[in-house]
């Protein structure tokens, strides 16, 4: 772009026509034109403000114009933007609040027709011309996140007190030692097992697992547990859900028309499957952006890759937008915003209306990428109410089943038509009514027997086209063409040669997945770190830009990123490295001295205690009470395609009662399961890389009064009451199930006293059994609501 060389240049324009203008023209300007411009326009388009990049306080400024081009064409009022906007009948209306009186508009028109004479012919100085792309400063180019990942040397650390297990510990201890700090002592084995089990699988360890681990004396007992957890299908269920946060996964559209996404679950299952298979992350990235364009593989792999592009389709959309072009551009914007945050840690959405104010991302970058998505079919149509794209993912067997089903439906319909025909009616008379009903039932039954598993939400390439820059993000005011290309600050200035035969999505995906892309590995490594330590090495996991935080341990971040790429982008390798480090095995009890020096625990002098996620609380309650159904995959969304899942006064969807793992419960936008909503489940309409944990009274109400609390407490109590022996033995069982330990003597006394008191306080009309059950339900409810249960030490 040439703009760079023009930065700092000034243009000097002369308002040449003014000199020698006829005196009556000057009088007309001074009396009828200048006062209007001064009173009605200059406050927004003058020395103070230049809305739309425009000033109207000189002829030259009007000739130069603003973002929308020249405001004035002398002699030609109809061609002058100035007069067009005064008419108040187009997209741009000026002044915005009130149309000028007709006589004032007529005066301005007359002035322009007369050549727009302006008596003060002093030259005006204006900035560089509009349109060209700005050059980036050296500082912008040198920003840390855009620099190549370099594998740093592991620091040599001598700290006799610390448990040094792998390079992670050396990087962390280097910083701690420099601050006179060290690791907290190792956590006790019971706490460590609960921590790593929840962290890798989202479930508590069973009492048997706890007992086995406490008894195991092999040196590598912990490593064996880690391997077992990583190999468990529950790993993909936990960490798949983390990715679904980032992918703003949901089973309905939300927004204005809340239609069911009956095929979204296939994408969810694809994510879980990919993680369980330890699919290399570079491949995982490519499949979600351009899986439809990747060659080779088996039928099943091709189906998987089509399903992966559901990532681009599952976002929330305004499906009832009367302006189809606005709908289309809004959908693309949502895709870019998500892709940017999810894979690159960049807020691309900021560059829709203007160059990014903080990061070196221009509107040219934005519309260069937007063109790729414009050249991609995400929607079947953009009419009201619009339909998203779905593609067949059938295997030959399922395609045959589908064809057979279609034939059956057609045959049933043909029969119905015959039954309804006048000929039959004439012969059968009233008798044809039951016949028609019967045939109608047959059609309904045939339609209902649609074989499952045939369509996924997915995209496909359309004709490759470039977009023009949308001035201020408005599709009605277009600027220069923006050739499809990659973000310049990272990818460089070389254009991508993209013709009309392709969108450019594949090229974009391949670029993201390159080992030398400075963002992709760093962003993902940071997410994994945040999932284990509560906060990332960059504490704004979705924003690696200037307004994001800087890494607390840049060398460690880079070492992990390099290690990740070198090990074939293996997520499980990364998890294993992190959870077998000495740092991960530290106690969560803070050292007061460290607390004073590093109150936010950024240096990690102790393991950060965390509250369980919404899903972990629910799954944990179900697991401890023995209700959890571990069936994997499939859909629980009881909805027909495109069914409205919320109505004005109804939540048509409330199928949250199934005791399956939380990841398999439908995520219905606008009707998110209230248990999740209350426990800080992330908003499924926006990408989200960081869970939060609030403590609010409604959470307490939930744990006291919800159906979930009632059901789990009842099942838990019944299971414990079935235990032989005395009350103390039963209390010990309850403790073991909830916490994997026995109660202390003091705790036992407290609990036994409670049981006695509660039975005594119960309704005297109730039977002894009922009173006892109620007291035990109360105990079980309390155990599941306690800090020891909802926090991981």
């Amino acid at each position: 772009m040439r703009a760079g060389s023009l930065v700092g240049a000034v243009l000097v324009l002369f308002a040449g026509r003014a000199v020698g203008a006829p005196p009556d023209a000057v009088a007309h300007f001074e009396k009828k034109v200048r006062p209007v411009l001064v009173e009605k326009c200059v406050s927004c388009h003058g020395p103070e403000k230049q809305k739309g990049g425009l000033r109207v306080d000189s002829r030259a400024a009007l000739l130069l114009g603003g973002d929308r081009g020249p405001a004035l064409v002398p002699d030609k009022p109809d061609k002058s933007l100035l007069l067009q906007v005064l008419a108040h009948d187009g997209e741009v209306k000026m002044p915005p609040k009130n149309k000028l009186p007709a006589d004032q508009i007529a005066a301005l028109r007359e002035w322009v027709r007369a050549g727009a004479p302006w008596p003060d012919s002093a030259p005006v100085v204006v900035g560089p011309p509009k349109g060209g792309e700005r050059a980036f400063t050296a500082e912008e180019r040198a920003f840390w996140a855009f620099q190549p990942v370099r594998r740093p040397a592991v620091p040599d650390v001598r700290d006799a007190k610390a448990d040094v297990r792998n390079p992670i510990d050396r990087f962390l201890l280097a910083k701690l030692s420099a601050n006179g700090l060290t690791f907290a002592p190792p956590a006790d084995r019971r706490a460590l097992l609960r921590r790593v089990t929840f962290d890798l699988t989202g479930l508590p360890p069973t009492p048997e697992e706890t007992e086995a681990f406490l008894k195991a004396d092999a040196a590598d007992a912990y490593e064996k547990v880690v391997d077992k957890l990583l190999a468990s299908p529950a790993y993909g269920e936990k960490w798949g859900r983390r990715w679904l946060d980032v992918a703003r996964y949901a089973d309905s559209n939300g927004m204005d028309e809340n239609l069911a996404y009956v095929n979204a679950w296939r994408y969810r299952d694809y994510v879980i499957r990919s993680l369980n298979a330890d699919k290399p992350y570079d491949q995982f990235v490519k499949e979600q952006i351009a899986g439809d364009l990747l060659p080779g593989g088996t039928e099943a792999e091709r189906a998987d890759r089509l399903t992966a592009t559901g990532f681009l389709v599952i976002g929330p959309k305004m499906l009832a937008e009367d302006d189809p072009m606005k709908m289309r551009m809004d959908i693309i914007d949502e895709q870019l915003d998500t892709v940017g945050q999810a894979f690159m840690g960049l807020t691309l959405g900021c560059a829709r209306c203007h160059d990014h104010k903080f990061d070196p991302i221009t509107t040219g970058d934005y519309y260069g990428l937007a063109g790729m998505f414009y050249s991609t079919k995400t929607m079947k149509n953009h009419s009201v109410v619009a339909a998203w794209n779905e593609r067949a993912i059938g295997t030959p067997a399922s395609a045959a089943a589908r064809a057979e089903w279609e034939q059956k439906v057609a045959a049933a319909k043909a029969q119905l038509a015959r039954a309804q025909s006048p000929a039959v009616a004439a012969v059968a008379g009233f008798a044809s009514v039951p016949l028609v009903r019967q045939q109608r039932d047959k059609v309904a039954a045939a339609e209902k027997a649609k074989p499952p598993g045939e369509e996924a939400m997915a995209v496909e390439d359309a004709k490759g086209e470039n977009l023009k820059v949308h001035l201020r993000g408005n599709h009605l005011t277009l600027g220069a063409e923006a050739p499809r290309r990659l973000p310049r600050v990272v990818a460089g200035d070389a254009p991508l040669a993209l013709g009309s035969d392709r969108s450019g999505r594949k090229e974009f995906a391949e670029w993201l997945a390159r080992p030398d892309n400075p963002l992709t590995a760093r962003v993902m490594v940071n997410r994994v770190w945040a999932g284990h330590f509560g906060a990332g090495l960059v504490r704004t996991p979705d924003n690696f830009g200037r307004l994001g935080e800087r890494p607390t341990h840049p060398e460690l971040l880079d070492w992990l990123a390099a290690e990740f790429v070198a090990n074939n982008w293996s997520m499980k390798h990364l998890h294993r490295l992190v959870v077998t480090s000495g740092a991960y095995r530290m106690s969560s009890r803070p050292n007061p001295a460290a607390g004073a020096k590093d109150p936010d625990n950024r240096l990690l002098a102790h393991f950060p205690r965390r509250r369980l996620d919404a899903e972990e609380i629910r799954d944990g309650m179900l697991a401890v009470s023995g209700l959890l159904d571990r069936t994997a995959g499939g859909t629980l969304l009881k909805a027909t395609p495109r069914q409205y899942v919320t109505g004005t006064g109804s939540r048509n969807y409330d199928g949250y009662a199934a005791p399956r793992r939380s990841v398999y419960l439908p995520v219905v936008r606008s009707a998110v399961y209230d248990v999740f909503q209350t426990l800080d489940f992330p908003d499924p309409s926006v990408p989200n890389g960081q869970r939060v944990a609030t403590t609010i009274p409604t959470q307490a109400l939930l744990l006291l009064n919800s159906a979930l609390a009632d059901q789990t407490a009842a099942a838990f109590a019944k299971a414990v009451l079935a235990v032989e022996g005395d009350e103390a033995a039963r209390v010990r069982t309850a403790y073991n199930r909830a916490y994997g330990r026995a109660p202390t003597a003091a705790e036992l006394d407290t609990v036994l006293a409670y049981l006695k008191g509660s039975e005594g306080a119960a309704d005297p009309k109730a039977t002894a059994d009922e009173r006892r059950l109620r007291a035990w339900r109360g105990l079980c409810r309390v155990l599941l609501a306690s800090n020891e249960f909802v926090f991981v030490e």
């Binding site: 009948d89 609040k97 009130n98 939300g254 927004m255 204005d256 028309e257 809340n258 305004m318 499906l319 009832a320 937008e321 009367d322 809004d330 914007d333 807020t347 990014h356 990061d359 009201v384 906060a535 504490r539 830009g545 009890r589 936010d600 205690r609 409205y644 919320t646 109505g647 004005t648 006064g649 109804s650 939540r651 936008r669 606008s670 209230d674 960081q690 939060v692 609030t694 403590t695 609010i696 009274p697 109400l701 006291l704 009064n705 919800s706 003091a746 407290t750 609990v751 008191g757 509660s758 306080a761 309704d763 109360g778 409810r781 309390v782 155990l783 306690s786 800090n787 020891e788 926090f791």
Partner: protein, 462 residues
């Protein structure tokens, strides 16, 4: 000193901790001690303001301005003629020629404000109202228009205005939520119309029922359980004892969580007590129309709104369910709709005034858009975001004013146009908040309710 926003930003990591640590501090210092880090603690506005709270009466569906408060004699005169200027570029349905209002208009009070026969009771309150006749928005569909009205964006999920107010001012009663929405619609954006989006979840509205729930049955989620109070008390005592047993002496999180259970225990009584209308006199019930079938439901919503406002809830929304969408049967259905709300609204205004609450309560009335002065079919009107009427009353508003105007037929806002962004800026201003300064940093930039738009309509300020 970190700003409040910076404090909240750490929410990603330690929000609960922050709130709790502070809750503890406030406990230690007594209830009246300032609670600076508590995200819901009352906060000082940017500047002194009259309005302390908001009651928003939302008419879902799009009431017709030319049939309610925007009197257009020329529309009657030109009934059946074609519209003499172009229709908008984007419309939701095809429409025909001009259609006069089937309703008679008259002037009310000293201000001489016009109201149709649909709103005799509200009309009688005209001298307390400030009409904005030149409202306009950008979206011609219910979903987009609802979201734009509630959140400022018809494109993306953004925090609702009640959440911004809650974020800006905090709540005055910690036993109650700061933002309550009574019988909200679950469609046309649904929860997104009252959700906090990227603002911390604590600012989200607490929904009481939804548009399908009778006002007699609405409740705070989970507020009712199956455990008798005496036994629940024992459970809470056990919980506190067990939690304290395990906690280290300096463990603020434990103590904070115990307190949140105590607060929940109190909330179980506080919220239903506010909702209990049986303590109100028969005269009050009558004032709100609770004694009549047509007005009972919305009357209850309005009376509950007054009680929540009185109890210190910052933002209360009442929704008159999705009824105002008269693509046909304009006369019949607008008549029924208005009958359901006219008396309750007038009752609310009267009651607030006589209790001295109107002076610091801002009451807002309106729908997501207006309707076309041209006919859809024979006796209906299409959506029209280009012109509609809102009225404001109470805290800081110039009473008895009619501001702005539409064209001769009421199709486009024409004079002193007020965009939804301007309305938002004005509402925040009335509460003492500068809409350009009430920001929250998310995904790399500072967001505001008004995005990059909005101007305070100074002429409507008292």
């Amino acid at each position: 000193m970190p700003t409040r926003r910076e404090l909240l930003q750490t929410s990603a990591l330690g929000f609960g901790w922050l709130a709790l640590a502070d809750m503890l501090a406030s406990r230690a210092q007594g209830a009246d001690a300032p609670r600076s880090g508590d995200p819901l603690a009352p906060k000082k506005p940017h500047f002194a303001a009259k309005a302390k709270r908001v009651i928003f009466l939302f008419m879902h569906g799009g009431p017709s301005q030319v049939d309610t408060f925007d009197y257009k004699p020329k529309l009657a005169a030109d009934d059946g003629k074609p519209l003499p200027f172009p229709k908008p570029r984007v419309v939701s349905s095809a429409t025909g020629n001009l259609l006069k209002s089937p309703f008679a208009f008259k002037q009310y009070g000293k201000s001489g404000a016009w109201a149709s026969e649909l709103f005799p009771h509200v009309g009688a309150c005209a001298d307390d109202l400030c009409f904005i006749k030149s409202m306009h928005g950008s979206n011609s569909r219910h979903g987009g228009a609802l979201l734009e009205l509630h959140t400022g964006s018809d494109t993306f999920v953004r925090p609702s205005m009640g959440c911004w107010v809650n974020y800006g001012l905090g709540t005055e009663n910690r036993d109650l939520p700061g933002f309550v929405t009574i019988c909200p619609t679950l469609t046309h954006g649904g929860v997104n119309n009252y959700s906090s989006a990227f603002l911390p979840a604590i600012y989200q509205a607490t929904p009481l029922g939804n548009a399908g729930t009778p006002a007699t049955q609405v409740a705070v989620p989970f507020v009712k359980g199956t455990t008798p109070p005496a036994q629940q008390r024992l459970e809470l005592d056990l919980l506190a004892a067990l939690d304290r047993e395990r906690a280290s002496p300096s463990d603020a999180a434990t103590e904070g969580r115990i307190q949140s259970f105590e607060m929940a225990f109190r909330m179980q009584n506080a919220a239903p007590a506010v909702q209990d209308l049986s303590k109100e006199s028969a005269e009050t019930h009558k004032l709100y129309g609770i004694d009549e079938k047509a007005t009972e439901n919305f009357g209850r919503q309005c009376l509950m709104a007054r009680r929540f406002a009185e109890a210190g809830v910052r933002f209360v929304q009442c929704t008159h369910s999705y009824k105002w969408d008269q693509h046909e049967n304009l006369k019949r259905d607008h008549t029924n709709n208005a009958r359901e709300v006219d008396k309750p609204i007038a009752g609310l205004l009267t009651d607030l005034k006589r209790r001295g609450l109107l002076k610091d309560t801002l009451v807002i009335w309106g729908g997501e858009f207006g309707r076309t002065p041209v006919a859809q079919g024979k006796n209906g009107r299409d959506h029209n975001p280009h012109a509609f009427t809102f009225w404001l009353a109470g805290g800081g508003v110039k009473a008895g004013l009619s501001y702005g105007a539409t064209d001769d037929y009421g199709y486009y806002a024409a004079e002193n146009k007020v965009h939804i962004h301007d309305l938002h800026a004005t509402i925040l201003h009335l509460l003492g908040l500068d809409h350009t300064k009430l920001t929250y940093r998310h995904a790399g930039r500072d967001f505001r309710l008004t995005d990059v738009h909005g101007e305070v309509v100074k002429d409507v300020l008292a």
